[in-house]
């Protein structure tokens, strides 16, 4: 999988489905947790989206702050999980 494709997919999901406002710019380093964009329910939904979209299961031990702090970290996690 290409990093950019993953990043774009995640960005679209977060802005359209979680924020429901495509006009808000989410950058790869926008702090999703700090800003409260990703709350607990949203994380569950995002993990479900990742499973459906990329066929990648995020194991529970990886659901940690360092992996979900921004879009770049999440896509790095996916690339790493996908290569395993």
């Amino acid at each position: 999988m290409q990093d950019q494709v993953i990043l774009d997919n995640l960005r679209a999901y977060v802005s359209e489905r979680i924020l429901q406002d495509p006009s808000i710019a989410i950058e790869p380093d926008t702090p999703l947790l700090e800003w409260g964009i990703l709350n607990s329910i949203a994380t569950v939904q995002l993990i479900g989206f990742i499973r459906e979209q990329f066929q990648v299961d995020v194991p529970p031990e990886d659901v940690v702050g360092t992996n979900f702090k921004d879009l770049r970290s999440i896509s790095q996690l996916l690339v790493q999980l996908d290569s395993q």
Partner: protein, 447 residues
């Protein structure tokens, strides 16, 4: 034979008592049901789960229940205060709002041929079942308060007063279906309060409440709704009773309630006000019953059967009602007990050994319920995640349907326990701060 008045003496005429009386009367055993109240009487625990359906069908009561016009229950939905901060999604995605709702029809269940169960006015439902037991040949005495059971002789004697007279009935065995008053549990000193699920409920009925106020889709309005409140370990049930009447109750930890100084009404509203959209809808409706508290919420019994006696339903065990398991445990424990009682009657031996199959199945079920509920309170976001995950969804649904008697341990339960442990041990886990204060204890059933 004339050495006894009845084969089986049953204390209590709620769903557990009338179900066991129905099963046993069908096989020709003579049963007497001693009920302290005059039916119909109000009772909490109004939402059923599909595991009650095969039992109702076995005893021939399903057509009567279906014809009685109770609201049909097709599914369950959960809402949380965290969720309401996210704007309504408007999408139907498997990982969207469906994360917190299930339809019973998603999973086929053995011997269940309808995709709904019921929400019931327990006054009417319990009366219907008791009359049904009577129609099958059981003798029913209402307004009878049992004083004592003498187990010394080969035939137990049940003593009660009628007017000023004291009357003794001799039976071959005693079934305690006395519900939370736990008649034999108290007499035999078997009862152990559960220190973990130290919960309290305050509830009432409301007329004209808009049940769709917090539903994502209007056709879910007849689901049971569980609304989580921001107060830790506190939730609200929303159960349709008739077209316009809804049962609403707040369940909280006893210490929260004690702090409210037993002001039922004030405490109820202070809880509900933490979910403004719920409070708004509720204030626009009319309360039609006084607020009622339910305390002494959870307990265990050291034994659930012995020579010539056994306990069914709430008399055997009571756990938190979050998954509407009460009537199902009552009816299914009665079903399982009746199999053993019939065998015991054939052999003419009602010794404890005869009830071992009942005991082990109930132990398994209670352990599964108990652990499922413990995990749920500890980390309810995990429950949401499992319902949303296609790998576990049906397995979780199986528990929600009430099929907990056969598996030693459902797969989802093992997995959920594992993840809970990881979240507990890792402060950096995104769900760590969502851990509830209730901890799953090491021991579950005591019998």
């Amino acid at each position: 034979m004339s050495d006894v008045d009845f084969d089986i003496g049953i204390i209590g005429g709620g769903p557990a008592g009338s179900t066991i009386a129905s099963y046993l009367s069908q096989t020709g055993l003579s049963c007497v049901v001693l009920e302290s109240a005059l039916f119909p009487r109000p009772h909490v625990g109004e939402s059923l789960i599909p595991a009650t359906t095969p039992v109702l069908s076995d005893i021939g009561a399903l057509p009567k229940v279906d014809a009685a016009g109770f609201p049909r229950k097709y599914g369950a939905a959960w809402t949380s205060s965290a969720e309401s901060r996210i704007p309504a999604m408007g999408f139907q995605l498997s990982h969207g709002f469906r994360a917190a709702e299930v339809l019973f029809s998603e999973r086929d269940q053995a011997n269940v041929h309808q995709d709904y169960t019921y929400h019931v006015d327990r006054g009417q439902f319990d009366l219907l079942l008791l009359q049904h037991a009577e129609s099958l040949g059981a003798t029913v005495y209402e307004g009878i308060r049992v004083k004592h059971v003498d187990m010394e002789d080969a035939c137990p004697q049940i003593t009660f007063t009628l007017g000023r007279r004291e009357i003794g009935l001799r039976v071959r065995m005693v079934v305690d279906a006395s519900g939370r008053s736990t008649f034999l549990g108290r007499q035999f000193r078997l009862k152990v309060p559960d220190p973990v699920f130290n919960q309290y409920a305050i509830h009432s009925w409301f007329d004209g409440f808009d049940r769709s106020a917090l539903a994502v889709q209007p056709d879910q309005a007849n689901f049971i709704f569980i609304h989580f409140l921001p107060v830790t370990d506190t939730w609200v049930w929303q159960i349709p009773i008739t077209e316009s009447v809804t049962s609403v109750g707040v369940v909280t930890q006893k210490k929260n309630f004690a702090a409210a100084r037993r002001d039922f009404e004030g405490f109820f509203w202070s809880c509900v006000d933490s979910r403004p959209e719920l409070a708004r809808a509720l204030r626009q409706s009319r309360r039609v019953r006084p607020f009622r508290p339910e305390g002494d919420y959870s307990y265990a019994m050291r034994e659930i059967c012995g020579d010539r006696w056994l306990l069914v339903g709430d008399a055997a065990r009571f756990v938190d009602p979050i998954f509407s398991s009460g009537v199902s445990v009552a009816m299914n424990s009665a079903r399982l007990a009746s199999y053993d009682i019939v065998t015991a009657a054939e052999k003419g031996d009602f010794g404890k050994k005869a009830f071992e199959p009942f005991e082990s199945k109930l132990r398994r079920a209670v352990r599964n319920w108990y652990e499922f509920i413990s995990i749920y309170y500890r980390l309810n976001i995990l429950f949401t995640a499992f319902v949303a995950d296609p790998r576990y969804r049906l397995d979780v649904l199986k528990m929600l349907q009430g099929n907990v008697y056969d598996d030693v341990e459902p797969v989802a339960l093992t997995k959920m326990r594992e993840i809970t442990r990881q979240v507990e041990q890792n402060p950096d886990h995104l769900w760590h701060k969502h851990l509830g204060t209730l901890r799953a204890p090491a021991q579950a059933p005591l019998f």
